[in-house]
Structure formats: structure tokens, C-alpha cells
């Protein structure tokens, strides 16, 4: 942590704050999640720091619980997409030949369908539960990770040290996890920050369209949806989740950039 630039410190602080709020939601939220405690769209006051929403629920409470859902779903989906995408990508690169061709063309096929439409179609015929939501988001996002990790691994795969491992007789698992993965980490970490943010935007979009998190559970996209009519009357309730998404995105990326710098400069990895 020493020598961490100010920007990364700020990013880390805000990120930790959001995650802590998400984890500790039941402890720190001032009211119950769907408890009606005041009038519709009350302005911010000492009782309701961010005012109330379209049904008179405390907006701060809704934001905290919403953040919990949004961050949880986005994090799980990102973790899934990276595990799936990078392992498949590395496999395609390491095996090459027709294995690579089949995997890459299937990947292109999935990518050729617009992500949002694909998700809407699938979610409209399947029950919208958290595991299904996470799986669909993770699966669709893994196509991007697949392309990146395959491209990176193809480069690394022709290095002499990988050849040396092959000549030693190492299996593909060693080559993938011990030779390629540590050297591919830098670009993947950079991508991870970005993908996490895209996942937050994606789940928010789905909820806004009504196919994501179902009421009365809260999430940031859902809060925008519930309060969007307020904008016409000058009620800022719908903008609060937007601010949350923006600050979290920037913070996560500041941290990811710093991690990227660290992993490339240290120990002479790729690009050093």
C-alpha cells in the first residue's frame, strides 16, 4: 500500500465505503427496506437525509439496500464472466487449431446478438431469479473476456518459457495456470474494473426495464424506474442512483489502474 497515489487512495476509500454499506446494510440503514415512513417525495431533511421516494419510503435506506443488490449481482456476474471467459480463452489459445476455431466462432456467434436484446429475450421466458440473472449476465459478458484473454494468451503462448515448459512435458493445466495466467493478469485486471462497471450498468438497465430485480426488493436501476416521474416535478430522487453509479465506477477504475501499474512494473511482467 506504500507509495499509493492520492487518486488510488480516494478511489479505494469510496469503493470500500460502498462495499461496506452494501455488506452492513441491515445494520446501518435507518429504516426498513420497504417500510413506508413519510410522505411521497419529501425533500431531504434531518429525518430523511436523501428525502423519500414515490411511495414515501426513505431513499437513503432504499439506496443502501439497492446498492447491496446491485453490487452483489454485478460482482458475482463479473466473477463468473472472468472465470469462464479467461479459462476458455486461454484454452483456445493454448490448444490452437480447430479447437480454437470452434470456440472462437461460437463466441463470435453469441457476440453477434446484441447483449441487451439477448438478455431481454431469455429473461422474458425464464423466471427472473437472482441466480438466473447472474448467470445470464456473466455468460454474456464472458464473450468479451474470452476475446481479450485469448488475444493476450496467444502472445504469451509463443514465448520461449512456455516452449520450455512444453519441452519439459508439462500438461496444459500447468501451462495455462502457471505460465500464462500470471503474465496475462495485468490486462485482465484492467478489464476487470471496466467490466464490473458495465455489469452495474447492465443490471441497472435490466431493472429499469422491469426485467431485473423485482420489487419490492430495491436496486439502483429499480429506484430510477420508480422515481422517474418525479423528474418532471423537479424531484431529484431518480438522480441519486445515477450519482452513486458514477462515483462507484470512477472509484473502481482508479483502483484498477493503480493495480495495473503495480502488476506491470513489479517483477518485470508484460510491458515492463
Amino acid at each position: 500500500m506504500k507509495g499509493m497515489p492520492l487518486s488510488a487512495q480516494l478511489g479505494l476509500f469510496i469503493t470500500v465505503l460502498y462495499f461496506a454499506a452494501a455488506i452492513l446494510a441491515p445494520v446501518i440503514a435507518p429504516y426498513g427496506m420497504s417500510e413506508i415512513v413519510g410522505d411521497v417525495w419529501e425533500p431531504s431533511s434531518a429525518r430523511f437525509w436523501l428525502g423519500t421516494d414515490n411511495l414515501g419510503r426513505d431513499l437513503l435506506t432504499r439506496m443502501i439496500y439497492g446498492g447491496r443488490t446491485t453490487i452483489f449481482v454485478a460482482a458475482m456476474a463479473t466473477a463468473l464472466s472472468f472465470t469462464l471467459g479467461s479459462i476458455l480463452g486461454f484454452t483456445a489459445a493454448v490448444y490452437g487449431g480447430w479447437v480454437d476455431q470452434v470456440m472462437s466462432r461460437l463466441n463470435d456467434l453469441v457476440m453477434s446478438i446484441p447483449t441487451l436484446i439477448f438478455a431481454l429475450v431469455v429473461l422474458s421466458v425464464m423466471p427472473v431469479t437472482l441466480p438466473i440473472l447472474i448467470f445470464i449476465m456473466g455468460f454474456l459478458d464472458s464473450t468479451r473476456v474470452f476475446r481479450l484473454s485469448r488475444a493476450v494468451a496467444v502472445d504469451i503462448n509463443v514465448m520461449d518459457y512456455v516452449e520450455a515448459a512444453r519441452l519439459r512435458g508439462e500438461g496444459q493445466a500447468w501451462v495455462i495456470f502457471r505460465e500464462i495466467l500470471p503474465n496475462a493478469l495485468s490486462p485482465l485486471v484492467a478489464e476487470l474494473g471496466l467490466r464490473f462497471i458495465f455489469a452495474i450498468l447492465f443490471i441497472s438497465t435490466l431493472s429499469f426495464l422491469g426485467l431485473g430485480i423485482q420489487p419490492p426488493a430495491a436496486d439502483w436501476g429499480g429506484i430510477v424506474k420508480e422515481n422517474r416521474e418525479g423528474i418532471v416535478y423537479g424531484i431529484p430522487a431518480a438522480l441519486v442512483p445515477a450519482v452513486a453509479i458514477v462515483t462507484l465506477s470512477i472509484s473502481v477504475n482508479l483502483v484498477a489502474d493503480w493495480a495495473l501499474n503495480r502488476t506491470t512494473s513489479l517483477k518485470g511482467g508484460r510491458g515492463a
Binding site: 518459457y161 520450455a164 519441452l167 519439459r168 503474465n183
Partner: protein
């Protein structure tokens, strides 16, 4: 005494170093170096990598590569101080009064433009001459540099000419605007010896005919002895010795200069070819993918246990392909390989773990042959774990033993490759190969990326290890001096065929075939006038035919 053309006094060059795991710190790259060069003279700058010779060369253009600061001293060119000169002044003199010839011509040319356009660019940009004059001069220079078809040479693109020709085209580019000074930065290092001698001769003629002054930077003392009037020996950014070419070569004053001159003085007694062969390659032909032509055709060689077979040849002769065939990365199209009395399967995947263990490989570029994310302990320890199942303390003890064997002491086990010097990296690669207790190690140009003194140390270590462990080497190289130092038998390769093969004493003794003669006579020797003698000799021979 006339004013010198270039006068560098007490030059100091600094840079910020970002060492892994440490805070950035300031490093002095060149310290208190002074030199002065008169018109029409050639000075050789010589030293190992990191000696600061290129940095000093570029400082004559008042240029420092990324992050380098010319922080002290004076650089006077044509009587005016240029170290702190403005951008406009520098632009007016770079490419007009001083020009630069880079090491890798292939990387320095723009592949999308014709040679003529690039050769005349500086002259036109500075308005030194008109387009027609510049092109006429370029053609003259092409002729002086003995490039083929000088009238039309400029119409080609960089990829349409050979490496040696491209290097000469770059010399023409540097000479075209009639500069006062040319900086040659290792112009022949990337070339084969047989090409190097032509380029060297061409550069020498061009310098003599145009009367330009030059700074000639190289790590090869034998090369610099052929072209320069004076030599300056550098080490760690400081001047070691400065004198006339003759004095440096014939009567060096400093210990370090003497070491540079006497490098490759290893005396290796050839072992007699006796007993069963360890590796027999018979009638092997191989090609890559769907290529129409064989890269290797009908190659047969044999290697006995505990001995060294050197494969010699220039780039493209098929030596490295040979290594790929023997290691199983490229299954041969025809022919058989016998290893330790048993036929060796052609493809890597068909070989048993034991066969893989007994045949190890060391690479040319130690930097990329080691995973930058693994510590030395992991790199050396993995073969122990993989082949012998050694774990924990037992493994660590054996790693330390191997580190001792390669003359690296305590404290290296936890380092990462980036924290090692070039020679140390290659030593770790040797230890990794040794860890498998192999019978044969294939060494692919293992010393060609290293400085002469470091390379010498590696060769001595390899010979030591051979004497102790009885391991055989298949030594691939383009450097005849290395071959003389280490080989028991030699196979000279040319265009995928074995041109000449036998015990070292036979191969290196006359009568020679034409190619071997060309190859052997092209190796620069550490004496004045060598270049002229060889060229005269060749001229007489071709006249005699």
C-alpha cells in the same frame, strides 16, 4: 592545431532508474567523459552493454533517449555549444551536420516508403540540395557502397533488399546530406559474418571517399580496429583508455582493455571420437507447415556422450530448425533420430517423460526463456519437482546446490528474472537444464546476446559442467570463435544442408570448400589491416579463376 569538429568535455549524463521493488533513483550513466574528434577522423567507442557508448554517441546529436538528461559538461560541434541549444538549433544541425546510423536497419526504415525517398529525405528537408542533386548523390553513394544496380536500387522498398544491403542503404542515408560527422551505432552487429565483412568494407570506403568524420560504436574490438584511427574504451560510463588504434590493439595499458583483447582465449582440447553415439541424426529432412521447400534436407550428424557438436552457419542455414526437430517441436518429414540407442519419436507428444528429461534446451534470449513471474527457486525447482518428485526442504537444498554449480551464491533463489543481469539469467537457464540431469543439452546461440567477457564466463562454465557431469552439448552458433573454444566436432550448415562435417581439427584445417573458406575468412581478427588483407586475397583469388 585546427579546432576539432566535435569536442566533448566532462560530459555527464544522468537518468532516473525504476528498479523493481525500489524507489526511483538517479543514476549516472556517463561520468566525466571527454573526447575530441578532428575532421575526417574515425573514433571507435567500445565497451560492454551498459558502458554508455550509445548514449555518448547520441549526445553528439545533443539527443538523449527516453528519460536521459545530458546534465553536465560541454558538447561543442563545429565550434558551438549544443548541449543546451534550443530545439530550432538542434533541428537545423541534426541530419545536416550530424547523422546517425542505427543498429537495426530493418526496424529503422519505414516499410511503406521507397528507399530513395528515405535516403534523400534529410538532404531535401534541410534544403542542402535539390531533388535531382540528392538523387544523383544517392546513386553515387549506392555505387560507392557496392549496392547492386545502383541506378534502380532506390526504387525498391525496404523489404525487397537483404539485411546487409539495408544496412548499407542506411549508411547512404546518413552520408547523403554531406554531413561533417556520422554516428555509427553497432552497424554490423545484427549481421552474419559473411555479410558483415562486405558492409564493413563498404562503410570504410565510403568514409574514405567522402572524408566525413565518424564515431563508430561497437562491442567488437576486432571490428573497430579495422575502421578507426583512434579508440576509446568505456566501462560503466567512464573512460578506461584512449589511444590510437595501433596502441590499443598492440600495447593496451589498462587491465580491462587487455581482457577485452584476450577474450575467447579458452583452450579446449578436442576429445577423440570414440564409443557409441548418444545422438544420431540420419537423413533428416524437415519443413514448416505447407512450405514447398525443405528447410532441412538430408542432414546426418552424430554426437558422442560428454562431447560437443557445434552446428555453425549463418542465419537461415537451418541450425535452429535442427534444434526444433531434435526437441520434437517440428517432427521431421524424413529420416530418423536415435537417442541413447533407441529411436526417438518425432513428435513431442509421443515422447516419454524420461526421454524429455534426458534432452534439455537452453535458449538464446534468457530474458524470454524464463517466466518473469516466477522466482529463480521456482524456475530451477520445477524440473526437480516434475521429474524427480522432490519437495520442500529437499528441493530447496538441491536448488541451492545447482545455484552453487552455476557460481551464483546465496540469496538468488528468491529473486525474479528482472532482478538478474544478462549473464546471471543465462546461468539460471543453464541450472534449469541441469536440474533435469540430462544426457544432452541443446544450446541455441546461448552466448550471442551477451557481452564478450560475460559470454566467455558462460562458455567456461559450460565446459566445466561438461567435465563434471559428462553431459553432451549440441551447440548452435554463428560465431566461429565460440566454436573454436568449445567444440569437439563441427557441422557447417549452409541452406539446410551439412556442408562440412567432422572433428574440429579436420573441419578447421585446409583444404576448405568454398563456403567454409568464406565463412572462416570473414571472422574479424584482432589486428590492423586485416580487412584489406582478406579483401585483397579474395580479389586475387577471383582474378585467378
Amino acid at each position: 592545431m585546427p579546432d576539432p569538429l566535435l569536442d566533448i568535455r566532462n560530459l555527464r549524463i544522468e537518468a532516473t532508474v525504476y528498479a523493481p521493488g525500489e524507489k526511483p533513483r538517479n543514476a549516472v550513466i556517463v561520468d566525466d567523459v571527454s573526447l575530441s574528434l578532428e575532421r575526417g577522423k574515425v573514433m571507435g567507442l567500445i565497451g560492454e552493454s551498459g558502458a554508455g557508448k550509445s548514449t555518448i554517441g547520441l549526445s553528439a546529436l545533443a539527443y538523449g533517449r527516453g528519460g536521459i538528461r545530458l546534465s553536465g559538461g560541454e558538447i561543442r560541434l563545429n565550434g558551438r555549444e549544443i548541449r543546451l541549444a534550443s530545439g530550432a538549433t538542434l533541428r537545423s544541425l541534426r541530419g545536416k551536420e550530424v547523422t546517425y546510423v542505427a543498429q537495426s536497419a530493418a526496424a529503422a526504415f519505414n516499410p511503406a516508403k521507397r528507399l530513395m525517398e528515405q535516403v534523400t529525405e534529410a538532404a531535401l528537408a534541410h534544403g542542402v540540395m535539390t531533388q535531382a542533386e540528392a538523387e544523383a548523390r544517392a546513386v553515387d553513394l549506392f555505387r560507392t557502397l557496392s549496392l547492386p544496380d545502383p541506378e534502380n536500387f532506390g526504387r525498391r522498398y525496404p523489404h525487397q533488399v537483404s539485411g546487409g544491403q539495408l544496412q548499407r542503404a542506411m549508411t547512404a542515408m546518413a552520408l547523403c546530406p554531406k554531413p561533417d560527422l556520422v554516428i555509427f551505432d553497432e552497424p554490423t552487429t545484427a549481421l552474419d559474418v559473411t555479410t558483415q565483412i562486405d558492409v564493413l568494407a563498404a562503410i570504410k570506403t565510403a568514409i574514405a571517399e567522402t572524408g566525413v568524420a565518424a564515431l563508430y560504436i561497437t562491442h567488437d574490438l576486432a571490428v573497430v580496429a579495422q575502421v578507426s584511427d583512434e579508440i576509446m574504451v568505456l566501462r560503466h560510463g567512464k573512460m578506461v583508455e584512449h589511444g590510437t588504434c595501433q596502441q590499443i590493439i598492440e600495447a593496451p595499458r589498462e587491465e580491462y582493455t587487455r581482457a577485452l583483447i584476450s577474450v575467447r582465449s579458452i583452450d579446449h582440447q578436442e576429445k577423440s571420437p570414440e564409443g557409441e553415439a548418444l545422438l544420431t541424426v540420419e537423413g533428416v529432412s524437415a519443413r514448416y507447415g505447407a512450405m514447398a521447400k525443405d528447410v532441412l534436407s538430408d542432414v546426418s550428424v552424430a554426437l558422442r556422450p560428454g562431447q560437443t557438436l557445434a552446428l555453425v552457419g549463418e542465419s537461415g542455414s537451418g541450425k535452429s530448425t535442427m534444434a526444433r526437430v531434435i526437441t520434437g517441436l517440428l517432427p521431421p518429414r524424413k529420416g530418423t533420430i536415435t537417442f541413447d540407442g533407441k529411436p526417438l519419436p518425432g513428435a513431442l507428444k509421443d515422447r516419454s517423460r524420461e526421454e524429455l528429461r534426458e534432452l534439455q534446451m537452453i535458449y538464446q534470449m534468457a530474458d524470454v526463456a524464463m517466466n518473469p513471474r516466477q522466482t529463480v527457486a521456482t524456475i530451477i525447482g520445477r524440473p526437480l519437482e516434475f521429474y524427480f518428485g522432490l519437495k520442500g526442504r529437499e528441493r530447496d537444498a538441491r536448488v541451492q546446490e545447482l545455484l552453487d554449480a552455476i557460481e551464483l551464491g546465496e540469496g538468488f533463489a528468491d529473486r525474479y528474472p528482472a532482478e538478474l543481469s544478462g549473464g546471471q539469467k543465462q546461468r539460471v537457464c543453464i541450472a534449469r537444464a541441469l536440474a533435469a540431469k540430462p544426457k544432452l543439452i541443446i544450446c541455441d546461440e546461448v552466448t550471442s546476446a551477451l557481452d564478450p567477457l560475460v559470454a566467455d564466463g558462460i562458455l567456461k562454465l559450460l565446459l566445466d559442467l561438461q567435465a563434471r557431469e559428462g553431459v553432451a552439448y549440441l551447440f548452435i552458433t554463428h560465431d566461429i570463435a565460440t566454436v573454436k573454444a568449445i567444440a569437439d566436432s563441427i557441422a557447417v550448415m549452409y541452406q539446410g544442408r551439412v556442408q562440412r562435417y567432422g572433428a574440429k581439427s579436420q573441419v578447421l584445417a585446409p583444404p576448405f570448400d568454398d563456403y567454409t573458406d568464406l565463412l572462416l575468412s570473414s571472422v574479424p581478427e584482432m589486428e590492423l589491416g586485416w580487412l584489406e588483407r582478406v579483401l585483397d586475397h579474395r580479389r586475387m583469388e577471383s582474378a585467378g579463376n
